[in-house]
Subunit: 111 residues, 2 copies
């Protein structure tokens, strides 16, 4: 229903971001993805399921092997959501000006 | 330790994104934030704690009241992480070209 929630949940875990980082370099087999992790294969399977539900990975049969690859498309939704709040990152100077005005009763002179 | 994880976890829940949306319009009191939610106040308190841990909200005493306001700054980290994968959203055409070339042995003519 809510793909943005699925995508954000998927990328909220450091291990899943690490998997994305690995797959961004190219498709890989399950065993290659699991190798760097010191956890049970079960945990890796769970991470991949969350990534797949969010549409961030896909599996393709290639001969006898299954290759897992990264799909960046769903991240576009996150970028869209973030974009709505972009103006709040650049407001530090505005906040300083407001603080200055409140404290001193004077306006910050703009050039 | 890992602020990016805290921020992504905080924004991964629709209710917490709704709170951010509300606070982006201006600071509010706890009761105002809780009003639209049909859940126990307990749940709202938990949501606010996660937002606060991520640095996305702050509380300020104003006379007798406590006002809660939104801070956009931590979202900059999410934007930074996303930026690394931006090229993957715009690769659809490239992928189509590759597919076409593989299937037909011909290059897509570029204008």
């Amino acid at each position: 229903m809510d793909q943005l929630t699925d995508v954000l949940t998927a990328i909220s875990h450091p291990s899943r971001r690490a998997i994305i980082g690995q797959l961004a370099a190219g498709p890989a087999r399950f065993t290659d993805i699991a190798k760097p992790f010191d956890t049970a294969l079960n945990a890796v399977t769970k991470h991949l399921k969350l990534l797949e539900r969010a549409g961030l990975i896909e599996r393709k049969k290639q001969g006898r092997e299954v290759l897992i690859s990264f799909r960046g498309e769903p991240l576009r939704q996150v970028a869209g959501w973030l974009h709505e709040y972009e103006r709040f990152w650049n407001e530090r100077l505005d906040q300083f000006e407001q603080y200055f005005t409140e404290k001193t009763g004077r306006k910050v002179r703009k050039r």
